[in-house]
């Protein structure tokens, strides 16, 4: 696919996705080399959002395959609508109905196309998002190799179906398990980290028009401080940060105070254990001090 780096930069900006230069470069390389893009990172860093943004940039429909444990070919590729086939057979038993041939039952009318087949059959270029691929197992990964390498699918009753337009493939992973070397080797790799304070402030200002300078700056510092605690399992995502700021604005807060941080903690930390750890090791007061720059202390552990 012919793209320019400047187009990627402009496109991401227009879509409101504020990214580091490394992200722009990696997306550019993946698109230019025609290889799938594998994005890894903690939950909430913006992996799925990047795929949606790329889809928006190129005006390509987004076809999403949400992976889960137990996902198999039938749910990812295609499945015969056997209930409908059985009904047709039952109807065919009636001597007044027309005679049904086997080939009638194995036609496109009875084929339920799942995301991978939809992406391959699409007339226009699509963005195929295989989300949270680390939730599947290795058998499914092996099956993906076949599809992603040639973009063809073999259906015994039909033959081989070739992709009309090779889709832009994006895989995301929360790194809950190590993906196989075979899958990684076929992809261009991007590790997305949580943004630093400056970038997070930019994101907040872009996504929440009208947010105060002080509030955005303090909130970004507060969240960075909370994320620095390694004992917290589920770190606040970018989305949760934005929700938190919106909640603070709803409460007419233009800066962080101890009381309001304690009251709204559940928006950032959605896990009881994480909240307990936060209260024991950090606390709302230290968060406010850090956010106001009164303390230079970085969280280094209990």
């Amino acid at each position: 696919m012919q793209v320019k780096l400047t187009e990627i930069h402009k496109g991401l900006e227009q879509q409101g996705y504020i990214a580091a230069r490394e992200v722009e470069l990696t997306v550019y390389l993946a698109l230019s080399m025609g290889k799938p893009l594998l994005i890894e990172g903690e939950p909430g860093v913006g992996k799925t959002e990047l795929a949606k943004v790329i889809s928006g940039m190129f005006d390509a429909p987004l076809i999403r395959l949400q992976c889960y444990e137990g996902l198999d070919e039938a749910k990812a590729l295609y499945e015969w609508n056997y209930q409908r086939q059985l009904l047709m057979i039952e109807m065919g038993r009636d001597s007044c109905s027309k005679h049904i041939e086997e080939s009638d039952l194995f036609s496109m009318d009875y084929l339920l196309a799942r995301p991978l087949l939809k992406a391959i059959q699409a007339e226009e270029r699509t963005v195929l998002l295989i989300d949270e691929v680390d939730k599947t197992d290795q058998e499914f990964e092996a099956f993906l190799f076949e599809v992603l390498s040639d973009f063809t699918i073999s259906i015994p009753e039909f033959g081989t179906i070739y992709a009309r337009q090779v889709p832009i493939v994006i895989l995301t992973s929360n790194n809950e398990r190590e993906l196989s070397d075979g899958l990684k080797r076929r992809c261009i790799y991007l590790y997305l980290e949580f943004p630093d304070v400056e970038r997070e402030i930019e994101i907040i200002k872009a996504k929440i028009p009208g947010v105060g300078e002080k509030l955005s700056s303090q909130a970004a510092k507060a969240v960075a401080y909370i994320r620095a605690n390694k004992d917290i399992q589920k770190k606040p995502s970018i989305g949760e940060t934005l929700d938190w700021i919106k909640a603070l604005m709803t409460m007419d807060a233009d800066r962080l105070e101890t009381g309001i941080v304690s009251d709204t903690l559940n928006i950032l930390l959605k896990n009881r254990r994480d909240q307990q750890i936060f209260n024991e090791q950090q606390g709302a007061e230290s968060v406010v001090e850090i956010s106001k720059g009164k303390s230079n202390a970085k969280f280094t552990g209990k």
Partner: protein, 442 residues
């Protein structure tokens, strides 16, 4: 210019491989293709092009970043690194030559390995003097030279082994290639590993220094936490379709007039594996065994029963020590203090025999045995016979071998044991996590 770039890229890939990254030829080709799409003069773009094609995980990024910053630094920086490395190497060489002359018993040099001489060369003047004084005292004693010399060598080797951990931080590391510049960069990277500049995931567990231990323990804690979270979901009902359950399908179709509207499937019940852990705690294996035990107990909530044994000259059961609920470090300290096997020699034959005769009730045909050892043992034929008997009594034997894979071909013991076990190379924490997950099919 293009040739220079290609040549440098190949050398850089070589460096990454030596640092533990698994870079395949396909990825190297991708890297070359990626570089053609950007301007090599743009360092940020160049780094992104290499990073996106050669690096495939979060842990590898830290090693890559450090390697990239050193390898593609200014020529003067690399020149200085090389000079420094050459100076250190020369000093080390001189030190080892002095060890030859200083460690003599009645005019004959003690029979020490290159590694042991290296340790001696890094000792402080006071420590060296202590060793030399001991040798001098020994010279004044026994006249039976041969027996006393071997005894003295054993004592000196033990002392050097004791000092090893204290001084290994200062060792210069080398790739042993013909490329001195590459060696000097690798040396600089290895030196900074101990300073905690990046994760210890890819560092040989044996080489993790005292200063790197807290980081290693933190890595194990995070690894086991992530593994437990993933594995515990596997014991829930899965929607995965396996074999058709025809009986249930037919029974279900009765209500629909015999038409198979709903298909039912069945799958084998996943049960937690029962584990028997056999850890070699002879001299060189101690560090590996400690990490493996800590890792296995970190994931004990997703394993069935775990029976743990340590062995060197003989076997000792330590499973009961982990039931006290105390902190893991406290338990391990107690074990080390009480154990008679810790740091001894290795007799796998005797150990397996003791296991069979005294602890036969701790394993059965459903047990998976996990052995941590470098296969170096006395009485290999007897060890093979015992291993053969043992392999018939358990479901599977997974052997974690810290010996580098390239040495396996030359090791007869490896060839012997491979007939009965599944052996995996395991000398880093990353290897450990991968092998345990795959080996136990977690």
């Amino acid at each position: 210019m293009q040739n220079l770039l290609e040549n440098n890229l190949i050398r850089f890939v070589h460096l990454l491989r030596r640092m533990g990254l698994n870079v395949g030829t396909g990825e190297v080709i991708d890297a070359f293709n990626a570089i053609e799409l950007i301007s090599p003069a743009d360092k940020e773009a160049f780094k992104a092009a290499l990073s996106s094609t050669l690096v495939k995980s979060k842990n590898e990024r830290a090693i890559f970043n450090h390697s990239f910053n050193l390898f593609f630094s200014l020529p003067q920086v690399r020149k200085n690194l090389k000079k420094e490395w050459q100076k250190k190497k020369q000093l080390e060489q001189d030190g080892m030559e002095r060890a030859e002359t200083e460690l003599c018993f009645q005019g004959e040099s003690l029979n020490l390995s290159a590694e042991q001489k290296k340790v001696y060369s890094y000792l402080s003047a006071e420590q060296k003097q202590r060793v030399q004084n001991y040798i001098k005292k020994a010279e004044q004693g026994e006249k039976d030279q041969h027996n006393h010399k071997s005894l003295l060598e054993t004592i000196v080797k033990s002392a050097l082994s004791y000092y090893h951990r204290q001084v290994e931080d200062e060792f210069i590391h080398t790739l042993n290639t013909d490329d001195e510049e590459l060696d000097s960069i690798a040396g600089a990277i290895e030196s900074s590993r101990g300073a905690g500049q990046f994760s210890v995931m890819y560092e040989d567990m044996q080489k993790i220094t005292e200063s790197g231990l807290p980081q290693a323990k933190e890595v194990i804690r995070l690894m086991t936490r992530s593994l437990v979270k993933t594995i515990s979901r596997r014991y829930h009902k899965s929607k995965r379709k396996r074999r058709l359950d025809l009986r249930r399908v037919i029974r279900g179709s009765i209500g629909c007039g015999g038409t198979f509207f709903k298909l039912k499937f069945k799958e084998k019940r996943v049960s937690k594996p029962r584990l028997l852990l056999l850890c070699d705690v002879s001299g060189s294996m101690v560090r590996y065994s400690e990490f493996v035990i800590e890792f296995i107990y970190g994931i004990n909530s997703v394993l069935g029963r775990i029976e743990t044994f340590i062995f060197a000259d003989n076997l000792e059961q330590i499973s009961h020590c982990f039931q006290s609920g105390l902190d893991f470090n406290v338990i391990m300290t107690d074990i080390i203090n009480i154990s008679q096997e810790w740091g001894g020699g290795t007799s796998l034959a005797q150990s397996l025999q003791t296991l069979r005769e005294n602890y036969g009730d701790t394993y059965n045909s459903k047990t998976i045995a996990l052995i941590v050892s470098d296969t170096c043992t006395t009485n290999l034929p007897q060890a093979e016979a015992e291993m053969k008997k043992f392999s018939r009594c358990v479901r599977d034997i997974i052997w974690l071998n810290p010996m580098p894979r390239e040495k396996w071909e030359k090791a007869i013991s490896v060839e012997v044991f491979l007939r009965y076990v599944r052996m995996f190379s395991c000398n880093t924490l990353a290897d450990l996590e991968r092998v345990v997950r795959k080996g136990l099919r977690l």
